[in-house]
Amino acid sequence: MKVAVLKGGRSLERGVSLKSAARVEDALDALGHETLPLDVGSDLVGRLRQERPEVAFIALHGPGGEDGTVQELLEILGIPYTGPGVAACGRCMDKVAAKHELREAGLPTPDWAAFNSTAFGELGAADALDEIEDRLAFPLVVKPAAQGSSLGVEFAADRAKVPAALVAAFSYDDRVLLERYVEGRELAVSVLGSEALPVVEALPRQEDFFNFEARYEIGRTEYVCPAELGSEETAEVQEIALGTYETLACSGFARVDLILGEDGPTVLEVNAIPGLTDTSLMPMAAEAAGVEFEQLVERIIALALERPAGAATLPA
């Protein structure tokens, strides 16, 4: 089968994307597929028209590749693609939209308040910060609404830290959220098709606890899979992850990041296109379930082909 691997692009997560893609390409070669690596740029549509791949493996991370943009183009071109569809990608990428959906569906997610820069510039949102801070309490987490990795995510230990944290987060997106900080164990549940894979737990080194970047560096964070949880806890965490996946109408795969706090699990965010690098969590979880990387790739492609061609926004 001719499989286009969409990678790179202009996102800040270009590096991770290239690593994910390299691994996927190796697997596709080993599986005997015809691999067509595409570093996405302004010639993408032209290349896809010319090459006519049977399916596109999207190994892009961050805005552009993970937010429904590329997915929309593939819909228009009639090329099946891996991972969630246009609308689901949009919902996952926008942490605020995702949190609203989860709340409405009765799924747990920490309290938050979201703003765009206009709210500060034109609507005097700064005046409301006191109330927000009182409601969310310190420490709180400030993050860009749409950024896949740890970029721009900051702890604010007290009031004085909030303005600079907001400025930092606004560097990555025009919308940011302030979120209640929930203390607890950091868990990730990857969902493949309609099945929750074993839970991964991240154990950052003590000194890196408030350093989000460390979560992405080998040696600075230890991962345990399956996480050491009781069977009831595991079931509850997986159930919430699956509920999240379904609520956001994901398909193919996705990874749900949660905190297991005193009051049980709560959902932080959903990655529509989780990393597939050597150190990424989804391959780790698949392996723990007995699914080797090549099988994982094959399964992801099968799921892409199963999904009804779909939510194209243009008339056929």
Binding site: R14, F120, A126, R159, P163, L166, V167, A168, G219
Partner: protein, 459 residues
């Protein structure tokens, strides 16, 4: 490869591999390489004006006349002919050096590595400037040095602060292995050590029996002002190790640099060099010899100085026009870089992400520190971009800074200022803060920037 495989390798990694740059910054810097990005981040000399015909002729001559030798291994400490060229370059800055005092290295970068290899055990103290050359940071880290960074001001390393550090170390019975300094046209700070402080530093070296590693890649790239006397010339080579390079006066691609050190130190350096790479590229050493035999190196250097001077002027002009009044920057009299400081609520790593969306890049200040300082500063290179690119690049960076300043002021306008203690720097304009700290002789907490020369009045 699976995560488990990786863990298996990770268990084998030496402790020194743990000290690496943050992944976020690495990812960001990877994006700066895109062709559409105006990069003021690199440290690149301009190699585009080197005459290709001359390059071709020299390489042809090497092939015709010295093919076998040029393709062969050479002596570990380098060819005598290379050393003669080195002596010529050093003489141009008033230094005299003998062949036997020199080891030719694979760029001066290797010399930094070899000096650490020779002198530094894990936990040993190395002193350097704050900020320091970003390329030295991974070297110090990989030898597990404990690095103490001493503040600078517009006259370079603050020798009185250095004295404080030396006194403290002496009380703790810890002897620093060496002081690493870039006295002329500092990378990244763009400042030059004053004559008075040069004398003081050499005096301190004698008094405390301290080695000083003088890294001088840019000394000959002076645009204005009087030439500075190298520390090596002042000291005569007892306590000063000297690092030089052909990278900025000829080509960085040839990777030829050198180190001058007292004989016992030099001997160990040569042993380390042998272990590292046996010898510096024979071919490129031949190229240096050929190039110097034409006697035109100073003319080429003059042409570079002229190009860089114009580019620096354009950058300074663009900064005046496009950077907000809360920013300050150094006005280098030579070299390749200047250093800009922004209000302390701006983190230049985050700012870089924003700037990259506008297709422009710089080096975040953090890269020049081993601790958490430097977050509000940036290094800007003016040698590697055209004047048009510099103008446009600075305009774009200025615009993203202005957005952040405006946002911060909007947020804090009714919010933080009301509650902040009067002593808190939050909400204070950068320039006022700077003036205050300059008056009190205090570099200020959190600002962590080389106190800058004030910008010109009445823009």
């Amino acid at each position: 490869m699976t995560a488990r495989d990786l863990e298996r390798y990770a268990e084998l990694f030496a402790r020194r591999t743990r000290v690496m740059r943050s992944s976020a910054m690495r990812d960001l810097m990877a994006v700066t390489a895109r062709p559409e990005v105006i990069s003021l981040a690199g440290g690149l000399p301009d190699t585009s004006t080197f005459p290709p015909a001359s390059f071709a002729a020299q390489m042809t001559r090497i092939a015709q006349e010295s093919s076998a030798e040029a393709l062969q291994y050479g002596p570990t400490d380098g060819f005598d002919q290379t050393k003669d060229c080195i002596a010529e370059v050093m003489a141009a800055e008033g230094m005299s050096v003998d062949r036997e005092d020199v080891v030719v290295t694979t760029g001066a970068q290797q010399a930094i590595d070899l000096i650490c290899k020779t002198l530094v055990d894990p936990g040993d103290v190395v002193i350097c400037e704050a900020p320091t050359y970003p390329g030295a940071v991974p070297v110090f880290c990989s030898y597990e040095a404990e690095v103490i960074q001493v503040e600078m001001d517009e006259n370079g390393l603050d020798t009185e602060r250095l004295v404080e550090v030396l006194v403290r170390l002496r009380a703790e019975r810890r002897r620093p292995k060496f002081i690493y300094t870039v006295p002329s046209f500092h990378n990244p700070a763009g400042v030059t050590l004053s004559t008075e402080r040069r004398r003081r530093l050499v005096e301190l070296a004698r008094e405390h029996e301290l080695l000083v590693c003088e890294d001088n890649p840019y000394g000959l790239l002076r645009f204005d002002g009087q030439p500075s006397e190298p520390l090596y010339a002042l000291d005569g080579g007892d306590y000063v190790l000297y690092l030089g390079t052909f990278s900025k006066i000829l080509s960085p691609g040839i990777r030829v640099g050198w180190v001058v050190a007292p004989p016992p130190v030099l001997e160990k350096i040569a042993l380390g060099k042998q272990a590292a790479d046996l010898c510096t590229s024979t071919l490129t050493q031949y190229f240096v010899r050929e190039y110097f035999s034409e006697q035109s190196w100073q003319r080429y250097l003059e042409s570079l100085v002229e190009i860089y001077r114009r580019r620096r002027d354009v950058m300074l002009e663009a900064l005046e026009r496009h950077f907000p009044r809360q920013a300050s920057w150094t006005r280098p009299e030579g070299g390749l870089f200047l250093w800009a400081a922004l209000p302390d609520y701006i983190d230049t790593t985050d700012l870089l992400a924003k700037a990259l969306r506008e297709n422009v890049a710089f080096v975040p200040g953090r890269a020049a520190y081993l601790d958490d300082r430097g977050a509000n500063a940036m290094r800007l290179n003016f040698s590697g971009s055209t004047r048009e690119e510099i103008r446009e690049g600075i305009r774009r960076i200025g615009a993203v800074i202005a957005e952040q300043v405006e946002l911060y002021e909007t947020i804090t306008g009714e919010h933080t200022i009301l509650r902040a203690s009067p002593a808190s720097p939050s909400g204070v304009r950068g320039s006022d803060q700077e003036r205050a700290s300059a008056e009190s002789g205090d570099a200020g907490e959190g600002g962590d920037v080389v106190p800058m020369r004030r910008r010109a009045e009445g823009r």
